[in-house]
Symmetry: D3
Subunit: 310 residues, 6 copies
């Protein structure tokens, strides 16, 4: 379900009343034991707080486990805001390790400088990789000697955009995709790598930070070229994983420090990455196909052992 409305055109009061009414309508089918909403486009921690409060007032006591993405002060998880970007960077690092590539030799191009792209760039920069290109909606910047994402962030916060960052050349978003680099991280919009440009992608590795940045026909071309693509369902799962960890903390009523959250996130991503990689090489299929096979297999297996009842 959902509500068709434009929150940007609504007052805070309207948004609160609409959220509470909606939460009341779905109150029987959500709950910490049942279905746990998480934020997505057009919702934010404040909206999740209203849902949590509406549900809790209805039960008569605080139920932090009913939604995730809550503000920290009422039971949100540390590290939740950076989790997707962090997961993207783990995916890139795991891939390089698998390929036996040395981090210091790696040139990375990141399309998109929002919550996902900027966090991933910053972590990879810290790990010693060379961030050669960054971009946002207005276009990108390029410096083959490497950019400092922190400084770019400061610049972007001041000027509104990454372009015109001193000491870097302007490139378009399309040029960024086709740069001569080792790792390409499309972390902006969907449908960026298509049948039209896939054969001009030079990166050895693509890590999908956005949802659906690569079209199915591009997938085929990349696979034939031997590009290693870490699919969105795996690469950008960090946010959903920390939502799960936020729920676990709410069930335990014990809240972890940021380090513990990040370490658990990393553990889960690494194990999953390895399992996908293993099936991929074993069955000679792309990582995207392997990830889907594992996912469907687990659901099917769970349904098989539980049976259909009544």
């Amino acid at each position: 379900g959902g509500v068709i409305c434009n929150p940007k055109e609504m007052s805070l009061g309207e948004l609160e009343r609409l959220t509470r009414r909606y939460a009341s309508e779905i109150i029987d089918i959500i709950g910490p034991e049942k279905d746990i909403p998480a934020p997505d486009v057009n919702t934010n921690p404040q909206v999740m707080a209203w849902i949590m409060d509406t549900f809790s007032m209805n039960r008569g006591y605080s139920v932090p486990g009913v939604v995730t993405g809550k503000p920290l002060v009422i039971g949100g998880s540390k590290g939740r805001d950076q989790a997707t970007g962090r997961g993207v960077s783990f995916s890139a690092l795991n891939t390089l390790k698998h390929l036996g590539m040395n981090p210091e030799d790696i040139r990375v191009a990141v399309q998109g400088f929002g919550n996902v792209g900027s966090v991933a760039a910053e972590i990879l920069h810290k790990e010693g990789l060379n961030i050669v290109a960054l971009s946002d909606i207005k276009g990108g910047i390029y410096n083959p000697k490497g950019l400092n994402p922190n400084q770019v962030l400061t610049h972007a916060k001041e000027s509104g955009f990454v372009i015109e960052f001193k000491g870097a050349d302007f490139i378009t978003n399309e040029e960024l995709l086709q740069l001569n680099c080792d790792v390409l991280i499309p972390a902006a919009l969907e449908n960026q790598i298509t049948g039209a440009n896939a054969d001009r992608i030079q990166a050895r590795v693509i890590v999908e930070g956005a949802n659906g940045p690569t079209t199915p026909d591009a997938d085929k071309i990349l696979e034939e070229k031997g590009t290693l693509l870490v699919p969105d369902i795996l690469a950008n799962a960090g946010g959903v994983i920390v939502s799960y960890l936020e729920w676990v903390q709410a069930m335990e009523r014990y809240f972890w420090e940021k380090e513990e959250v990040n370490q658990k996130l990393e553990g889960i991503m690494k194990r999953t990455f390895n399992r996908v990689l293993e099936l991929s090489s074993q069955k000679k299929v792309s990582m995207r196909m392997a990830a889907l096979m594992i996912a469907i297999d687990r659901v099917a297996e769970a349904m098989r052992v539980r049976g259909l009842y009544p």
Copy 2:
């Protein structure tokens, strides 16, 4: 409660319907906060899955904590299947450490090569002990220089039984018990060590892997001889302990890697072993008596502080 039937004579459909009906009948008196069934003879993970599903469909959401011994994919615990054998091996190692005996000098005879005996033998073999005898329902094999349980397992899987394993002599199950060895692990049936053969047991240490392998009159003889016997209630508690840990994981909705499960299992077994040993030497009673004293004391103390109400 229970159902009088022979599952081996029933179709899978009959077994499922019977299990679901039975689960429905006891639905008011089981639950993750109340009473948590665990598998025993003639049930298996599939049966536990049906109980879990029946209970969950009744509540309207998944309740993994209602039973243990479930398949992994719906919330079972890693390490559950090997837990009893692992616990038996911990018990043996703890005992040797207590006696100051060096693992490499130890000769072990294991009666029974099912889930308990084979796992225990394998772990002790890895720890450097000398497995001199193994057996199953058809009889046993003996090699004073040591057997490799892994190889025996491969042989048994192929031929159906441990006998005729190359490079070992045939012995009867009765002979196995009376072998010249340091540690004897009866992990087959009950009533193996009796008043009739107890005085011919040569092992310095007995670790009960089976339920009730030693009769009360044998207990007395062994105690007088100075044999150190680790009783079943302590030695083979590993399965029940990991059932408890499976329940804890279901309550937290957070599932541990196998290493963490094994480490927690080992911690619990070690603390309990030491407490039993301490009381045993303090009160000058057998370890069996000491274990029972501790168990009864804890229940009695809990009842005393809670009181009888109403």
Copy 3:
């Protein structure tokens, strides 16, 4: 709520019946998800056990999370009894570390030798500090070369009081407060450091083990003098924190060893101490003021994000 009665004049049977009746009256407004009573003056683990049992019998299954301060055998937390004293000692050690003072050079005076004072003294003694004075209701003892709290405890258990401990001089409780020492721990009654004696306090650091040992006018004098005072709300929170940890363990149904409890307690106290200290120096206010600002701010922030509904 509460019951006006004098438990010392009641038989155990009367106390049990009264406790169960009271628990029944408040049964709708307590519960592991709602409001969790903890012990205070005139209640003890036995009383908490009766509340737990009454609530549990009402629900039809054991609910260890409904109260804290329970006996260990029915779900109490290891380390609960020493938690307040332990927290006081952490506070003192954190303060010294912040001030860059070397433990071995520190002279400590502790007023009050009950559960809080004696535990704090013992831990600080073990950490190498010099316990120069201890006292109880009858008066105190003083030895500038240091006292061994363990020995004083043995003496006090035998004789009933700390005075007349061999190798120490008698001092009054009032004199103790004004001793020449580095750290003063008032762990007895409220209103000990007042406008009348505050300017004669020589300690550089005061750690409030009792509730409200310092009056508001004394606070002002000490602040002007530059005495660093760790307020009760922070310094003696250890008991409440371990009550919280006891509740967490009850929710998980997994119980930690004493070391883990203490380590978690220390983690929470250290993080809180640092946050209070930081705000204190940043806003140029006393630690008491800073602690209250943080506390009120968190509640206010939680209320703001949840909103008032309905």
Copy 4:
């Protein structure tokens, strides 16, 4: 909600499993306090019994109030099967009384001889009215001197249809509608009286036994002609009303004799009829319009006093 299937092509076992599964899916949103399903086309008392049993097994005790239209033996209401036809006859009699017409002078034509038409005809016959025409899917019979519906029923049960009843002339369903009579009861299909034939209807009174037998354009023509039409929402409400009474009996757990059910049904229909009639003449609108005005007004008034919350 609903299930797209053809029960006539399903085995009884398939129908039971489908019904139970469907009931399980909607179990959270039905219940005696919430939403109470009642039978309609393609369901029958057996289906309602399965829903009742599925819901009851889920709660752990019998919940007769969760559905209506159940078999008598598990809490169905006496008089439920005849309720719609009985309500139609009440409506006709109330109308005649209002118009001051003498029952003995009245000629009635009934289209449709199913559960509604046959019961209505029989009751009106007993009350002394003259049933001049009856019909079913194959066509009708006509005798201006009157027919005995009981005898027609016997004939129809034997031969399958009402036609060829001795002592009556054959007429088509269309001819029946246009007969020279006082009361016309369309109790078969929808859209029988249309803009094409409405001006040829001779009856002074139309009582809608079927759902929607009259089209909106026919409504207009009849209104202009001065025909008094008792709309379906009022005239054939008997079944729904006794479903309500079945629910009331289930809530009380006290079951009424048939006489009491019929008397309560009559009371409700008479009060409603009079209220509709009154508003109709007061506002100079058709009875259909008046009935809708009352219905909408009650819902609106209830919503107004309750308010929209949250």
Copy 5:
């Protein structure tokens, strides 16, 4: 509990939000099985509707039984608004019957012309009694030949007050009490008949329509004079009784016609009246004392058989 506020100074929106917040605060301790609020001074059916709606939205389905005094359209009881006045008139008639007095000979004075006084006057007028005096806050009117309460009501609605009713003399409220009449019904404020005027009361019978119109010292004087006083707890219980009947209807989900409500009200009042009268003459105590004795006795007896538990 209650809310300190002046609803007359609040907007409808403020009143609604306050009511819903208050209802939410007490939601755990009210309910159709527990405690059922009823309207009193400063609340009205609209307020009860908001409470009903708040509680119902919280449960997820309509719960008409949670409050009484609701608007008819959401489950209020017919006859609820007139119930107190009707009960007062029953009390008067029962008393006269007991005294063997002929209704036609009776002169009645009614102080107060609100919901209670006007309804009682009207019913007694219909029963043939002679209403000689009526009053409201501005004063009263007197006509020894009798007044028609309906006409007075029409006059009062137009002019705002009963005074200046044509064909009647003005009297003060105090004079009304002391009129030469047979039945006096104080249905206005408390403390009207006091030690100061009790000996000047001429009525043979007093029926208390208001709460507490007679002071304890007046009670004593009246008892000595032989005035028969029907106490408020009995005489004006009609409103509370129909609140009870509204709750019964909500539990059954079956709603009675006004005649049935009134008949049940009359049955309950008559039985209670007779029981009080009987005890009064048997024990030689006033009816007020007898009513209290019965009430306390029933509560005591119920507590005695249930016992104090836990």
Copy 6:
């Protein structure tokens, strides 16, 4: 379930604690929607009150519907105490009416003068029948001209037994059974009419007030003789029926006057009597057989329509 104890040897306090403990043990499987205990030998209204209170305190509000046979003041039904005797007398009267026998000509012998026999005798006496013999454990009295049961009751209350009642001859219990009379009501113990004395029974009609007064071999003899026997399952069902009505009143929270209870009891008994009689003559079986056939048929029919699920 049940408790093996002798309440006559227990103090009231012991009995209360035992009852409350037992009620707590079965609390999950009783309840107004589930299983409703009723009193039987060795329990009384006080015991039922304790069960009701224990259950209610557990739920947090009064639940009168959880047991029947409660004291009136907490929701017991009027007429409950006399219900069995009243039902026996209805059975006798219904039988006589069926046989076309005139009440005034009927001679009745009643064995047993407890709650059942004395109430039945009194009602039949009021209806004009001739009570010729009454008895209790010590023996009986006989007067062919008729006895007044009220006077016998007064005598029995004074002297302890019915024998030595003035104006009647002594007879043994055995002689009573074989008296020359029309209606015999065995209302004492089981196994009174046996193969040994059945052929000497002279009564035309036997109405079983006790449970099982007639043995199966006596049944056969009586059937052959043409004696009309109203079996216990029908004749003495009055108590159980009013227990049912007590439950209905508790569900409605509306309590009926004694007349209404008796009238409903009579309605149920008459309808059931007629149905049994009809089946008995239709199938040419005894009334006992017919009653069992109807009972089993209803349960079987309910199970058939509900089905076995899961």
